[in-house]
């Protein structure tokens, strides 16, 4: 962490703490800007099971989205007519607001897990698909020609050339989708779930506990940073040929 980052965090924390003490004299209710002691107390009450549940939902849905996105992108890369049919649909999917997906999920499906997975896949799947397809189209004509000259099977063509070639783009997609999924899963859990961080945020809102909202938000942010760090680590490992 750089010196500037630490300094900006310290300034923010000091300003927040000062504001929490001045709040009553400024006519702001005390609960609106809780002190770090109060937030610390909320952090101590964080239930790990909710963190695990949210994490499992995010990772599970991202793996499914990735698999489906890559599979469809591969099929679309191979078939222009399929691409012609699917491309407008994908654009339509990407234009639908997250809230609409959540409402559709609530109206269409009964199971909570199914609803959340549906929303996450509907939002993240197209990102994986579009990024993969664009990356495949970007693989150089020279490398494709070289590979084809050795007459690979279709499976070999994709596993030995296309997928390794688009790996840097896929990892970037993972980073984008992690941040997207963390935000989307929270909203989805807020509406329909009885477990998870989103549900705990809804409870905190019902109790007017800003300290709890702050604590759970902090957990979400830390979770996102940790997941991104994992992807960066994987990136360093599998893309060491670029170093």
């Amino acid at each position: 962490m750089s010196r500037q980052t630490v300094l900006s965090l310290v300034i923010f924390a000091a300003a927040w703490e000062l504001l929490s003490h001045l709040a009553p004299t400024l006519g702001i209710p005390a609960f609106a800007i809780p002190s770090f002691v109060r937030i610390g107390q909320s952090l101590m009450t964080i239930t790990p099971i909710d963190v695990v549940v949210t994490l499992a939902r995010v990772i599970g849905a991202l793996i499914l989205s990735f698999g489906l996105g890559l599979l469809l992108a591969t099929a679309m890369y191979r078939s222009h007519s399929l691409e012609g049919y699917l491309h407008p649909m994908i654009r339509l999917f990407m234009a639908v607001p997250v809230v609409s997906w959540i409402l559709f999920a609530v109206l269409w499906f009964r199971g909570v897990e199914f609803r959340i997975a549906f929303v996450l896949i509907a939002v993240c799947g197209p990102v994986f698909l579009v990024d993969s397809l664009d990356a495949m189209r970007g693989v150089s004509r020279e490398l494709r020609g070289m590979m084809r000259s050795f007459r690979p099977t279709t499976l070999q063509y994709f596993t030995k050339l296309m997928f390794p070639a688009i790996l840097p783009n896929l990892l970037t997609s993972w980073k984008i989708n992690l941040s997207l999924a963390i935000r989307v899963v929270t909203i989805a859990e807020l509406v329909g779930a009885v477990t998870g961080i989103g549900h705990q945020l809804a409870v905190a809102q019902e109790l007017f506990s800003v300290a709890d909202v702050f604590a759970w938000t902090l957990v979400l942010v830390v979770l996102l940073f940790l997941l991104e760090a994992v992807v960066v680590r994987v990136e360093h490992r599998v893309l060491r040929w670029r170093a």
């Binding site: 020279e142 490398l143 020609g145 070289m146 084809r148 000259s149 050795f150 007459r151 690979p152 099977t153 070999q156 030995k160 050339l161 390794p164 070639a165 790996l167 893309l239 040929w241 670029r242």
Partner: protein, 260 residues
């Protein structure tokens, strides 16, 4: 390996349609050519004469508009899979996979053929050593010089022990010393392996130095001359060079090439 099959190019024609204008461009008008097994043939022509199109047609990446290329009774485009492991190519740029080490790049064609890991590693290391890269087996392409990368590309072609070797301007982008050295290595290895070798080039010195035969192509791959180099003594190579140069410039066979 059985002996390499003969290559017959019969009334070959290739027309491309330009996507933007919709106009047709004749890359190869009508070409007849026969290449005997184990011959080393240099195909020369000016830039844009259809040499690279001929290269793509010979390896089966393009389909002829008319006519055919027949290799041992099969066509490289129509019978694409028949030629697995039989045709190897060296391109102008090395075209190495940047995420694979030199060794892994050389192993690639053997992997595609399903050769066992131990065997392909052994064969690849042998070829890397023959090309002077034994100490660079684990280096990534970005860690190698242009000449070294092209050596890896040559090793990748020879490791297959192919019946037919095709090289498209394979040494054109290298400095003169490296190009001459690699050209000699390529020729020696091609002769030793008993492959039919076809080199596409725009450099006359290279064509004369390498080819048993020099096929001179004019516009739209019109066959201007088919020269057997052994009929020219070393002392006549300067004349041969001038005659080919004049043929290319005039787009018709120079009189000095007649009678040989």
């Amino acid at each position: 390996m059985n002996g390499p099959p003969p290559i017959e190019v019969r009334e070959l024609r290739k027309v491309f349609r330009q996507a933007a204008s919709g106009q047709s461009v004749v890359a190869i008008e009508r070409l007849d050519l026969a290449i005997a097994p184990r011959e080393v043939v240099a195909i020369v022509g000016q830039t844009g004469c259809g040499k690279s199109t001929l290269f793509d047609l010979m390896i089966g990446l393009e389909q002829p508009t008319a006519g055919s290329i027949v290799i041992g009774g099969k066509t490289p485009y129509g019978d694409f899979d028949h030629f697995r492991g039989q045709i190897a190519t060296v391109f102008q740029q090395d075209r190495l996979l940047p995420w694979r080490s030199a060794l892994e790049n050389v192993q690639l064609p053997l992997e595609l053929l399903g050769v066992a890991e131990d065997e392909r590693r052994k064969r690849s290391l042998t070829w890397l050593a023959r090309l002077g890269l034994a100490n660079f087996a684990n280096a990534y392409p970005r860690e190698l010089s242009g000449g070294m990368r092209q050596r890896v590309a040559i090793a990748r072609a020879f490791v297959l022990q192919p019946a037919i070797l095709l090289a498209d301007e394979a040494f054109g982008h290298l400095d003169e010393v490296t190009a001459a050295e690699l050209r000699e290595t390529f020729l020696a290895l091609a002769r030793e392996s008993g492959s039919t070798a076809i080199l596409i080039t725009h450099q006359l010195e290279e064509a004369i130095a390498v080819g048993d035969r020099i096929v001179v192509l004019g516009k739209s791959a019109k066959l201007l001359a088919d020269i057997h180099v052994e009929r020219w003594s070393k002392s006549d190579h300067a004349t041969l060079r001038e005659a080919i140069q004049a043929t290319l410039q005039g787009n018709e066979r120079d009189a000095r090439l007649n009678g040989r």
